[in-house]
Amino acid sequence: MKNKKEELLADFLENNLSAIKKQEIEDFFAKNEGSKTEFEESKEIFFAINKSIEKDFDSSKDRFFYDFLSAEKEKLSEKPPTKVIRFYERTYFKYAASVAGLALAFWFGRKTVDNQTNTNLMSDNGSSKVIEKLVEVPVVRVDTIYVANKQLALAKQPNVMNEIGTLKKEIQETKDLLILSMLKKESPSERIQAVNYSYDLQQPDEQVLKALIYTLDYDRNVNVRIAAADAIGRFGNNTNVRDALVKSLLKQQEPTLQISIIDILTKYNERKALPALRLLAEDNSTSEFVRQKAEESTKLLSL
């Protein structure tokens, strides 16, 4: 009852009431002069709260967002599109296409190979051999020419190749250093930026990997830890990374992070994660969603 009156008064304050409800409040105030005075005073104070002058966003900090956006766009373009099995990708179609390809190659061979070769081969009574040879010849020739041309082109420019190699190495080292220094920054945005730079690295330095894992385990900002988990997930084929993730799984309290790590370990079929997953699944303090996820992954990894 009291709550209902309070709700009405809140609506009365914002002039949100119907005429009937408004009258109800007016009647109440007519009988309770003290309440009316108190309400009027409160209302006056409420409407006296005014906005301060709005400050402008420091545009020099925009680059953090735009760098982050570029990194995210790159990540997105790296990801394979959602797998939709199309008609031509279906298994039966692949078999049919192979048979048709073979037949086409056979027909093409019959048309192109000179009569002499054809006659000799046929005289061996090896029809399967004929198909094999006729199919293989054009393919091997095309590949050989392509590879030979490429090697020739590269061999002509050994200095250029060396220079490119050196430059690539230098860029990688600079990025490694940049990441390591930015991960120590006070601002979480800059630390997230550092984590995102790691997406440019094909195979990061061991020190960078350690720094990313340390960030995942100990950064005081949950967004930075989430970004680190995503970045580390790309290097799940590295045993050291997977071992670190197994250890990290039990340290994490944040469900989002627990889920990210479980996903990575399951993706890379890391059976060493099983004890940690069982512990999580049995722990009552684990969130329900994480427990379910841990149980599912335990089943998958136990197969």
């Binding site: 108190e38 709260i49 967002f65 982050f68 956006l69």
Partner: protein, 174 residues
């Protein structure tokens, strides 16, 4: 392009559209944090993080959500994480930024109201803040705080009652 359309594009992988939302909301969000008394640099950081989360959790956005409420909800969660991570209470943050701005033109009365507002319990201060500073309707506040509209109305009523009480006590002290 409405905020909602832009966000749906982001949801569908057109990340460029996030820049539109960033440009529209970076200022209001910065001021949202500043008004709660968060420092200048940290307010910028929290604003940036709000957009990181917007992109990171874009798949949790649903068609029909009001974008403004959704993004403020992210910002509010970040603000609470910030308080938790730094072992702070809302009442411990000083709204010094606003006072500095207003000293030249605002009267003592307004300053007293601000002080009174700061002394309110967190849940009261929050609803008044959203209602008065962010111009949010009760329904929007309810969605943002994930509570019923009735709860918001009761909270607003109790908050203004308490605000009056604290204000009058300050007035007497002065």
């Amino acid at each position: 392009m409405t905020d909602e359309t832009a966000m749906l594009c982001v949801f569908n992988g057109e990340l460029d559209k996030a820049a539109i939302l960033y440009e529209r909301y970076k200022r209001p969000l910065l001021n949202f944090f500043l008004r709660f008394g968060v420092e200048w640099e940290t307010s910028h950081d929290l604003t940036q993080q709000t957009f990181y989360r917007m992109i990171h959790y874009r798949h949790s956005y649903r068609d029909g959500y009001e974008f403004r409420t959704w993004i403020y909800r992210i910002a509010r969660n970040l603000f609470h994480d910030h308080l938790k991570d730094n072992h702070l209470k809302m009442s411990e943050l000083n709204d010094s930024h606003d006072f500095e701005e207003e000293e030249t033109f605002d009267d003592q009365n307004h300053q007293l109201i601000r002080i009174a507002l700061q002394k309110l319990p967190d849940e009261y201060r929050e609803v008044l803040h959203l209602s008065r500073f962010e111009d949010m309707k009760y329904e929007q506040i309810a969605e943002m705080l994930n509570v019923s509209v009735s709860v918001v109305k009761v909270r607003v009523h109790r908050a203004i009652k308490k605000l009056r009480e604290v204000y009058l006590s300050l007035d007497v002290d002065v």
